[in-house]
């Protein structure tokens, strides 16, 4: 155990030097780094949001809305299919997770089943989207299967991530991280954003915009809408101090916001009001031209998320595919709406269910506190080791410092995130790492007192202490893996640094220290070991 071959010694030294080399980028600024030649390691440790400042938002997609949307379209499709097939029915409705319909004539069940067979799509695995049940009394139930629901929600989440990314990119945040979490959640990390209010506002809107006609037959005040129309709220005008107006709006969507290619905030040259000007793509422009041509003199509604933004009267056909929305905007709200329209609508509403924001000052304070604690901790532990074990304690201290460098190097290489609890982990790891050397030194001391020669005592010390060291490191490692799997956010960082430190300490506290001690022993050849 005490013999080290030449290549092994060089190997150990090379590992230590490499560790220091890979740690260097963390002490240099990004600008200095990019100026250095390419062979210099470039990777830096990712600082967690709690250290660099920023916002962490956990969003949850409204799965009920996703299901409701799907059932609505399926109900429409069923209506069309039954009408085309000339099958009489009552009570067609979508609720919970299924669409139900009662046939007037239970004898037409087979024909109805054939007609309804096409309305569902297929899941990714090729299974039908709906499970079809038919009862003897002519009641047919189409139920969304679990697999198709998972599929659909998964797709909605993927789409939402894309839209969320576009919206956040529009705000100019640097390096946002957007990732799916679990079945129906999206994790958004915004470095450097202290007050995420604007982003929360932008993400809190579905931004589904539609252009529809007003229904002249309804009674908005009385709350009665003819079939095919609905009553929607508008926004109270500034200065009028009155209640928000209500409109009777046709359900039929003439032009969809998805057909927009551009939207910008602008000021109207005449009224100096803030407006949002928009531009349609070619098919949208064609539809818009057609609708405005046919409805000159009538009002139409621009509806955003089930609220009427404005309801202007069409004065002349709009054929250029461009238009303006005026809706009592401020510069900020006009800009926000333009961003939302450019980025597109979310497939379903998102809710912020968890927020953690840390200002950059607080983060900097934490870094300072962490570094100070680490330095003081290192000095205390190092002093204790030297007082207790002399030169062997000093070797252990050197090993701990190498361990610190190697942990930082590993964090840089793995691009792991260092959090405030992670710094606490580094400190604890310092203590645990010298624990191994205390066990070894105590054992060597014991063997020496039993009358063994220095070489024999050292050999026995390392050999006997090793299983204890391995046991204690493995038990801690098991706990940290559990914590990493079940913990969340910054606590994961704690598990990461301790785990890395423990694994590295198996090298530094045993192999590296052994090399130092053996080298020292060969040079000095003391009659008694100084422990």
């Amino acid at each position: 155990m005490l013999y080290f071959s030449k290549w092994k010694i060089w190997g150990i030294i090379a590992v230590c030097v490499a560790a220091i080399l890979f740690t260097i980028p963390n002490f240099l600024s990004k600008a200095t780094l990019s100026g250095l030649p390419g062979w210099v390691p470039q990777r830096q440790i990712n600082l967690g949001l709690d250290l660099r400042g920023g916002s962490y938002l956990l969003l949850e997609i409204d799965t009920a809305a996703v299901i409701r949307d799907r059932l609505d379209t399926a109900t429409d499709a069923a209506r069309t299919a039954l009408r085309t097939a000339n099958i009489g029915y009552t009570e067609l409705a979508g609720a919970d997770r299924s669409v139900t319909v009662h046939l007037r004539d239970a004898g037409q069940a087979d024909a109805a089943l054939t007609a309804l067979g096409d309305i569902g799509s297929r899941t990714a695995a090729g299974q039908p989207e709906f499970k079809v049940d038919s009862a003897a009394d002519g009641k047919i139930t189409l139920t969304l299967t679990d697999a198709s629901l998972t599929d659909r929600i998964g797709k909605a989440v993927e789409q939402s991530i894309e839209i969320v990314r576009r919206r956040i990119d529009e705000t100019g945040v640097n390096e946002p991280q957007i990732a799916r979490q679990g079945a129906d959640r999206i994790l958004v990390q915004l470095p450097g954003v202290q007050d995420p209010d604007r982003i929360k506002r932008l993400l809190g809107q579905t931004a589904k915009m539609t252009f529809r006609l007003l229904d002249p037959n309804g009674d908005a005040v009385g709350g009665k809408a003819p079939p095919g129309s609905e009553i929607l709220q508008g926004y109270a005008r500034a200065g009028t101090n009155g209640a928000a107006p209500r409109y009777v709006v046709r359900r039929k969507v003439e032009v969809d916001g998805a057909d927009l290619t551009d939207a910008r905030a602008a000021t109207n040259s005449q009224s100096a009001e803030w407006v949002v000007s928009f531009e349609f793509n070619s098919s949208g422009a064609r539809r818009f031209a057609q609708v405005t041509q046919q409805n000159v003199g009538r009002p139409f509604a621009i509806v955003l998320d089930d609220k009427v933004l404005s309801a202007p009267v069409i004065r002349e056909p709009i054929t250029g595919g461009r238009g303006q929305i005026s809706g009592n905007f401020t510069a900020q709200s006009a800009n926000d709406l333009a961003v939302l329209l450019r980025a597109g609508a979310l497939p379903a509403p998102l809710q912020v269910i968890e927020e953690r924001s840390v200002g950059p000052d607080l983060g900097a304070d934490s870094i300072r506190a962490g570094i100070l604690s680490c330095l003081v901790g290192l000095v205390l532990v190092a002093t204790y080791m030297i007082i207790g074990y002399g030169i062997f304690g000093l070797f252990a201290d050197l090993a701990v410092i190498v361990n610190l460098f190697m942990t930082l190097a590993a964090l840089s290489l793995l691009q792991a995130t260092l959090t405030l609890p992670g710094i606490a982990g580094i400190l604890l790891m310092l203590g645990m790492s010298v624990d191994a050397n205390i066990l070894i030194n105590e054992r060597i001391r014991e063997e020496t007192r039993r009358g063994r020669t220095p070489f024999a005592a050292m050999e026995a010390g390392f050999k006997r202490a090793f299983s204890t060291i391995l046991d204690s490191n493995l038990t801690t490692l098991i706990k940290m893996i559990i914590l990493f799997l079940l913990g969340s956010g910054t606590v994961k960082g704690f598990a990461v640094t301790i785990s890395l430190g423990i694994i590295i300490s198996l090298f530094t506290a045993t192999v590296l220290v052994r090399l130092m001690m053996v080298t020292w022993l060969r040079r000095r050849r003391p009659a008694m070991l100084p422990v």
Binding site: E60, Q194, D195, D197, Q351, V352, I353, E354, E355, R356, S357, V358, G359, D361, L362, D365, S366, A369, G370, L372, S373, C374, G377, L380, V381, Y384, I387, G388, G390, L420, P421, I423, A424, L427, L428, G431, M432, V434, D435, I438, L439, E442, R449, G451, R452, T468, D471, S472, T475, T476, I478, K479, I482, L483, L485, L486, S488, V491, F494, V531
Partner: protein, 320 residues
């Protein structure tokens, strides 16, 4: 050469004589902790209870009565104010608002707006708002982590040692953890994810300590085939005393700076760790060893034949 020793090398302290005292004290403390856990209960942090925590820095020394009065009339239920660090730093904690997950968001906005209006110049340094579904999940995961960790330890120690060791270590671990929970109840420190991390670390630490003593017991079982278990355990504890105390002191020293400089977030973590190190170290001697004595009195001595014969006879004889 002469170095400072924590305890002299040749101690012969009859620890097992105090085995009943140790176990009874530990049991009483743990039972008291369990009672405290239910009444008055723990101060659950935002992670586990949901709600809002806002960290602010006021332009001058914080005016607590004014802040309390102002936030109290927002009708948000229980509002806690806590000073930390300087006199200008205040942590505002508001209990979970009724309603869905977005209710926390809205409430946090109201508090921030209110602060901006009534206490101009106040800097909001950090915000946490956690909805019920998230906090429930975090709590469940935290408890699962603790449960899994205990099971994993039982399995690991039983695998590496005889089952008596495994059971002894895990009973001690449970006693340690209950006392740590009691520490949270008595001090009113926040019980959150960081607290779970602290408890897991203490568990790891405590087990490490047990492994040192148990390793020696196992070794001595092979060396001193005729010695009574009680005597043998005493011998093993005395032999490893410098190790048990030394490793604890090293970790203790590493943790102290965190308790002093660590700031609001890490201070509590560090204090719990310090408490846990003391508990974990003392329980190795006063709890884990006696339990091993009770569980193994007749059984462990019989198992010796299947072990390999003693590898090394001690050169200096009994009592080194």
């Amino acid at each position: 050469m002469y170095y400072v020793r924590l305890v002299p090398d040749d101690t012969h302290i009859p620890f097992m004589r105090g085995r009943y005292a140790g176990l009874i004290t530990s049991a009483v403390l743990s039972i008291a902790s369990i009672i405290l856990f239910f009444y008055p209960g723990l101060n659950y942090g935002t992670d586990f209870r949901g709600g809002i925590a806002i960290e602010i820095r006021t332009p001058g020394p914080a005016d607590f009565p004014a802040l309390r009065g102002d936030l109290g009339q927002l009708n948000m239920g229980q509002v806690q104010l806590q000073q930390f660090g300087s006199t200008r730093d205040v942590l505002i904690r508001v209990e979970r608002q009724a309603g869905d997950d977005t209710a926390q968001q809205k409430a946090a906005d109201v508090v921030k707006q209110n602060l901006a209006e009534k206490f101009p110049g106040t800097e909001v340094r950090g915000v946490e708002a956690v909805g019920a579904s998230v906090s429930d999940e975090l709590f469940r995961n935290g408890m699962t982590a603790l449960g899994l960790a205990i099971l994993a330890m039982l399995a690991y120690i039983s695998f590496r040692f005889e089952w008596q060791f495994g059971l002894g270590a895990v009973i001690t671990l449970v006693l340690d953890v209950t006392k740590t929970v009691g520490f949270f109840a008595v001090t009113g420190m926040q019980f959150n994810l960081t607290a779970v991390a602290a408890i897991l670390t203490i568990m790891g630490y405590s087990i490490n300590d047990k492994v040192v003593v148990y390793d020696r017991v196992r070794e001595n079982l092979r060396v001193y085939k005729k010695m009574a278990l009680r005597e043998l355990i005493d011998l093993s504890i005395n032999e490893t005393l410098n190790r048990t105390l030394g490793t604890s002191l090293a970790t203790f020293l590493a943790t102290i700076p965190l308790a002093i400089f660590g700031g609001e977030a890490l201070q509590e973590f560090a204090l719990v760790m310090l408490f846990g190190i003391v508990i974990g170290t003392s329980s190795s001697i006063f709890i884990a060893a006696p339990i091993l004595l009770f569980l193994g009195e007749h059984k462990l001595r019989r198992g010796q034949t299947r072990e390999a014969p003693a590898p090394v006879a001690p050169a200096a004889g009994k009592g080194t």
